[in-house]
Amino acid sequence: MAQPTENVHQLVGHLFRHEAGKMAAVLTRLLGTQHIDTAEDIVQDTLLKAIEVWRFRGVPENPSAWLYKVARNKAIDWVRANQRTTKILSTQVDIINSVLHVSSPSEDVFRADEIEDSVLRMMFACCHPTIPIESQIALTLKTLGGLSVAEIANAFLTSEETIAKRIYRAKEKIKQENIKLDPPGLFDLPYRLDSVLHILYLLFNEGYHSIHSNSLIREDLCAEAMRLTYLLAQHQATSLPKVHALIALMCLQSSRFDARMGALGETILLEDQDRSKWSQPLIRQGLNFLERASAGNSLSEYHVEAAIASVHALAGSFEETRWDKLLELYETLLELKPGPMVLLNKAIAIGYARSFEAGIKELLLITDLQDHPLYLTVLGNFYFLLGNRSAAHTWLEKALLKTTSPQEAELIKRKLQRIISTQKKITH
């Protein structure tokens, strides 16, 4: 008997979480979407089995293969026990059994490319346009991301009950609409892909921008969104410029992840960030993807947003930022995705590219953000840079009243402090 000493292999990162998503996708594809809950139960039991055995024996040589083997056996048991009571047709049972019993690796449903294929199909099913968006997000995270209802609820600052309901609704919809894990047809693909990309974009942003106190959860959301987008980018059917643009955006944004937060969890603004903390590998990867994204002549909002992120990534310091380029990009983005937040960013670019007065003028034209703390802070900041301290003070005070986030309040207070201290310097 081998001693555990030789057997214990260190578990890599989120092995269970990632394998859970893969196994759920393969099993759901095999058993049919009406048995999605069964697939999840089998995954759960498989992980429990791993705990039971591994804690005594250590992690096996190939933990993933070990898990797949157990999942396969559990699936065979389930089919055998339930073929009469479930709606699985006997012909289907034969197919499932023959697929599960294969001994040749080339026919294995748990072969790497088959797994990827299943995960991709599952992604398209979870993000089916007939499912409400918030349910798409919850289902994707639960089924493919391997996150628990509690983790998702925590990430979105809502109750477990709400998340459970959203997942339930998504699953009901899948059953009602008989959404299968078929790859979308050639005509459907662009439309369905947009829906998948949109969900991944929202997922990433939730992780990146949310003011959640638990940074681990936020990092997890970003990581899951990136992992799934990366998979799309690697798969030949979905390796499209738009997908490369989205993964480029995610790489470039996440390169600043560690620099954006201080020791106490407070946000650090772009201009105050220590740029040596930006992850150069991620920036390089992002720029690579962005280059690949420029193949073809389609221009998506992800292209423009990734280009914006690249301008920041390439600036050696805040002062060296190419605001003229940013201004151009925000103008393009405005055409693709009009909205007050894009207008706000465009006004910021004008402020730095031309003059603070021009920026303020542009800001005052925006009407729908009067109560938005960020808008008020930017205005205050521009007045400060212009030397108009009393106006700066007024706008920042307004911003302080509107913010609900303690971190944001902290930032605004610090800016106010700066105004007061510069005033003192002048009077002295």
């Binding site: 001693q3 979480r17 394998e19 759960q44 429990l48 005594f56 628990s148």
Partner: protein, 116 residues
């Protein structure tokens, strides 16, 4: 040093909030950490997990009966052999046993020595 057998009973009352991949992996890592610690201190001699099902063989007629034992809260899930100075030290080694939170129990039994 004496040898002791740590027999693990139960420990399957896993709370619903723990039934997610990440939490399960974290829990398993606690087991690894515990074994690692025992090993570093030169305490760990070996251990195995037991399947939840099996057979009883009893009586002069060697009657064979099935489990199932799986329902039992006291089901033995596995064992370790550890070395310790005395029973108190062996008991102290169970401090990091991770399944206490799932109503698990550890039976600590000295392995008999044959002093001839």
């Amino acid at each position: 040093m004496e040898k002791f057998m740590l027999i693990f009973h139960g420990g399957s009352d896993i709370a619903p909030e723990m039934k997610n991949p990440e939490a399960m992996q974290k829990h398993m890592e606690k087991w690894f950490a515990w074994v690692e610690k025992l090993r570093k201190e030169g305490r760990y001699e070996g251990g195995e997990a037991l399947e939840p099902s099996g057979k009883f063989v009893s009586g002069p007629k060697r009657v064979v009966t099935d489990g199932p034992f799986a329902e039992s809260k006291e089901l033995v899930g596995g064992y370790f052999i550890v070395s310790a100075k005395d029973i108190d030290e062996a008991v102290a080694l169970t401090a990091d046993y991770p399944d206490f939170i799932f109503n698990g129990k550890v039976q600590v039994r000295p392995v008999q020595k044959l002093d001839i």
